[in-house]
Amino acid sequence: MIEVKNLSKKYKNQEALKGISFTINEGEFYGLLGPNGAGKSTTISILSTITHADGGTATIGGFDVKKDTTAVKRIIGIVPQEIALYEELTAFENLQFFGSLYQVPRSELTTRIDELLNLFGLFDRKNDRIATYSGGMKRRINIAAALLHRPKIVFLDEPTVGIDPQSRNLIFEVLAKLHKEGLTIVYTTHYMEEAERFCDRIGIIDEGKIIAEGTLQELKSAGKMKESIQVQFTNGDEAQLAALNSFWNDSKQNENSTLFYSENVQADLPKLISKCNALGLDISQIDIQKINLESIFMDLTGKQLRD
């Protein structure tokens, strides 16, 4: 559905994209993950045809994003990061206007608007001005405006930034429903829990490069990362700790705690606790560190995803 090859883009002296490549299949929920300034928005801008790449190619549904801009625009929907709505107009008027840009027939458009307003739980507020909406409600209309022409692919650029939990959950429900109906979704975020929850595959982008790509499981197993059990003791001398470390082949002594790496935390945890008891070590705290996108990202780049 989407094929990106060696896409590069430079702004003045800054290289925003350094030859990224990835493929997104039809009906896939693809997460583009990376910190601010990694190149996510530039990628979406190029794929949405409003910015031209300096190098490389990108096709959507077989159409070249540089040459067949109109054809590409007709099959994609974009949810921008900012709330791009007219505050003075009502929700209905906003949706009617944006729908009309895609030449959706008037009667069909009205039906579609009502359908989307119902889906996002805002039908009762359809005739209220956007200026009177809460941030979360605006975000919902912001998404609805990208779905009016029934696109085959929808790009969502950080669609849940700064919204209330109720709106966030509603958006998640809608996205899950749309995905189930076969819509291809490209989702950029720096909230890894969102990516973990929804994405079939994830591309991790940093400093203009895709540094890892695959399913969550593939990403987990691709690296050398292991889950770990971090234990703090209230007592214990060097001999006791040395005995514990020799029992556990793969461990690391930190200043106030010991890190025990594990292939299977669930199975290893009872063994570790028994051994500590046997050695007379009193445990004050146990933290289980599972592999997630945050830790994968940290492992790959050495920095936090939200940096």
Partner: protein, 395 residues
């Protein structure tokens, strides 16, 4: 508090264009008004009143009179054929012609009233008054300057001969303390020149200010992200500008119509008789003012820049073009500079319609409208070029 002030100052000085505008606007306006009003009362060559003169007497006396008037410091005399002079006045290119009618020499010799006539455009009442003040002292003493005094004394009129003070006995007609005044342009309607000046000048000025607001809408759309959303849709980005153009033109048109209808209802300005010409002028003015608003929006990078630029350009254009100060009281140099102002051409067109009673097919009217439309066209083209440069790449 100090930190906040310093932060705001830093933000202010970072915007070089805003800084420039902040200081250039007052300087430009002070210069403009000082030049305009300061120049009114000085007698530099630049501020001479142009007076066409048409000699129908072709006598020695008339030639001497022309020579005498030509030596006046505040007047630039241009000999002209009467018909050509009248045509120039009707077109609005000149304000008046002094006609030395046949019989001037005889009247001079006989001491009867001199057949002098000032044909003028009543639209320039104040300029006519200033001219009269310049001419009267010279014309009042014409007989004494031109008549051979020895002849007069050898054969004086009876009143002079019997009067102990012969000069007091000179027939009143011999001293032309009044010139026959003939307004060349006679409005068919009961027009009020002041009202026409007020409504024409103010409407253009206000329209310019209001179109700036619409121009700012473009900048708001860019800043708020809705412009980007429009570009996501399958439309050519330039259509966004064209859409704005249509909208601004419609609202400008409505504003102008409302202003003239109000003037008609409230002040009795007849807008029905000259309706075709009025509508053409309103359309042309709306078109050009709208283009100006979009031009500003396309070249500016922020709301502050639009506000600064618009204040500067609108006030200067309006002052130069006659919206704020009647053009004829300005120095000659500024009168020449007025042609760069769209206000000037719009106001001239309104005068063509309401005062000069020119039809829509009249070449003078068409010229004024043509220049106005050309200005609009140029501004629109510049707006398109800058829009493509500044707005079509957003990411």
């Amino acid at each position: 508090m100090i930190k906040i002030a310093l932060k705001d100052l830093r933000i202010f000085f970072k915007d070089k264009r805003l800084v420039l505008l902040t200081f250039t606007i007052p300087i430009a306006l002070i210069s403009l008004f000082a030049f305009a009003f300061g120049g009114m009362w000085t007698n530099d060559d630049d501020e001479k009143i142009t007076l066409l003169i048409s000699d129908l007497d072709h006598s020695e006396a008339s030639k001497k009179t022309i020579s005498l008037l030509d030596s006046l410091k505040g007047i630039e005399l241009i000999p002209s054929k009467l018909k050509e002079a009248q045509a120039a006045i009707r077109k609005g290119n000149e304000s008046f012609v002094l006609v030395i009618n046949q019989g001037f020499s005889e009247a001079m010799n006989s001491g009867t009233k001199l057949p002098l006539e000032l044909q003028y455009d009543q639209a320039n009442d104040m300029e006519v008054a200033i001219l009269q003040q310049s001419l009267l002292p010279t014309l009042s003493t014409l007989p004494f300057k031109l008549i051979d005094s020895s002849k007069m004394m050898a054969n004086p009129p009876r009143e002079m001969a019997n009067n102990p003070n012969p000069m007091h006995a000179l027939p009143p007609a011999a001293i032309p303390n009044d010139i026959k005044m003939t307004p060349l342009i006679i409005p068919t309607q009961d027009a009020n020149i002041g009202l026409i000046q007020a409504v024409a000048g103010t409407s253009v000025l206000m329209l310019l200010f209001s179109v700036v607001g619409f121009g700012m809408g473009l900048i708001d759309e860019r800043q708020e992200g809705t412009l980007k959303r429009l570009y996501y849709a399958p439309i050519n980005p330039i259509n966004v500008l064209y859409g704005k153009m249509i909208c601004v033109n419609i609202i400008s048109l409505m504003q102008m119509i409302v202003m003239f209808v109000f003037t008609s209802v409230a002040f009795g300005l007849d807008i029905i008789t000259p309706l075709p010409g009025l509508m053409v002028t309103i359309v042309a003015t709306s078109f050009t003012c709208s283009a100006f608003g979009l031009f500003l929006a396309s070249i500016a990078q922020s709301r502050q820049q639009v506000q600064g630029l618009s204040t500067l350009i609108i006030l200067v254009m309006s002052a130069l073009g006659g919206s704020m100060i009647p053009i004829f009281i300005m120095p000659a140099l500024m009168q020449k500079a007025a042609v760069i102002s769209l206000n000037y051409w719009s106001i001239q067109s309104f005068f063509d319609v309401f005062w000069r009673n020119l039809s829509v097919t009249n070449p003078t009217f068409l010229l004024h409208i043509g220049i106005l439309l050309l200005m609009g066209l140029v501004l629109n083209v510049i707006a398109i070029i800058f829009f493509k440069k500044n707005y079509t790449t957003l990411a």
